[in-house]
Amino acid sequence: MTARPGREAIIYLGPALVLALLVVLAPLAFVLYTSLFANGSFSLEAYQSLWESALFRRSLATTFEISAMGAALSLLLGYPVALHLSRLNPRARAFCMILVLVPFWTSILVKSYAFTVLLGKQGIVNASLSVIFGTEIQIPMLLNRVGVMVGMTNYLIPFVVFPVLASLLAIDRSVYRAVEIMGAKPPTVFWKVTLPLSMPGVASALISTFVMSTGFFVIPALLGGRKDVMLANLVDFYTRETLDWNMAAAIGVILLAIVTLIAGTAMQIQKMRGHARGV
């Protein structure tokens, strides 16, 4: 990370940079333009009407609420997986990493229907619980926030496992040996050594899952309830249903700005901490 890129880096990175400028920056500039120009003349009307729209404010709040919950839950579920993977031998680890990736290879649409079968009122989970406890059990897990969280964590966990695993594997084995010699018990080792030293992975996992979540669309629509409307659903409404691209673009710009601000700040803090520790 601290290595200064050489001049030849330009040669290697140049083509990718040009491509990135073309496929990312140009459309982004067009989105910004669309949000500011309605019918050919400059106007901030879209931003103003979003500011006044209760629908937008509520979806914005829901988006951040769901994204934060999704990122935190994925971390809680993904961290132990990464920890386990880090203790395996390389061959077993490679196999298990493929297992982590499997859900990733299934279409989110298909998975959402599969979750209906699992989590529904008469789904496999509720039916099994009913048999075990000998009484009719119908825990509502679908078409509400629980359903959204199940769908999101299923999608996001690989994005937690890989960066955290990289951090865990980067920890010098001799540190463990040293603390064990000093008589530290496993919980102490975890809290004093493993967790602090894996923080870069944790931070990048949290940032990337949070940022990804803010753009979720299918999961809240299929597994969520009526209140689980995220900004992406609102963008779809303006893009495809009312064809008001001025508004759709403005929502996109606002979301991008907020996400950039949050992710940028988080990364800056991370960097400063790294410098403080002399990494």
């Binding site: 529904g120 679908l142 990048s204 299929l222 249903e241």
Partner: protein, 353 residues
Amino acid sequence: MSNKLISLPGRRKVLSALGSAASIAVAAPFVITPRRAFAAGKMVLVSYGGTYRTSVETALVKPFQQEFGVEVTVIDTPDLAKVKAQQMTGNIEWDVFDAVGAPGAQGSKAGYWEPLDPDMFDAKDIVGGLKKDLVPFYMFAGGIGWDPAKFGAGKAPRNFAEYWDVKKFPGLRTLRNRPSETLEAALLADGVAPNKLYPLDVDRAFKALERIKPHVGQWVTETPQAITLLERGEVSYSYVYASRVRTQTGGKYAFSFDQTLLGTEYLAVVKGAPNKANAMKFVQFAMRPDRQAALMTLLGNIPTSRKALPLVGEDARKWMGNIDNPNNAFLNDEFWADKFDVVGRRFKEWVLA
């Protein structure tokens, strides 16, 4: 951190495989674009996927290719936003557009369609009448569906007033997550006469919706979900389409024809279509009574050619009901083309509240 990741043995292969797989998955929609059909003897039809597509290919596309020697490329999902993009950039890729009522009228208002020559059609034969740039392709019936194994005779609501009657028919229901159809259903439930619906009394409709809101299990966005929710027992009754009940459940589920909302599906030729002459020929072909009958026998929707109705297969005709039933209401697409924006926003806000 990332350079350390790569230096670790064993995982490099997995990670590079992951990287390339991801980049292919991300890039695919941009790289694989539909084959363009600029040459003479070709055209592009935008329609829906799944069994719908197979039906359209069997009853329209193949016979058309045989009769006129025009090669038709069928593309999934008529998305009006893409028509807008094609009109804005002047890069028109589509010829014929299979349009549901409201987007059809919306496109008409925005000037996205070529005007149609009335001489191409038998005006008297067309139910609902030819518009300047839209021809009614077929009609679809939306109404109440349920599983007859769970709710026998008299145990399920048969009209919208009963759909709203949660005392007599307890249990969760579905409604569409959009104002069109939903507001109409609410007003019918509230006692407005089917032929006096328009212009919709929006305030009254929202008041009626307020009563049913706690009993709506899901505001359906994706059409197939309306039936899957019934199958999984998430809801007791559902707002579904007759033709979907026939194809998606193999006709096992019940659908009430006592009261339905009748919507129109249109065909339109995209403005500036690269194969305009072939497109016009195709639209004319699709309205021929024999083709209408063949397609509707497969789809189970109601043909808009009067002459086609008696030619439709018997099983499909069972799923059409009687369009002259005075309890039915015809959806007014022009109303929604004007109001969808404002009422749609209010509806979304209301659903969230």
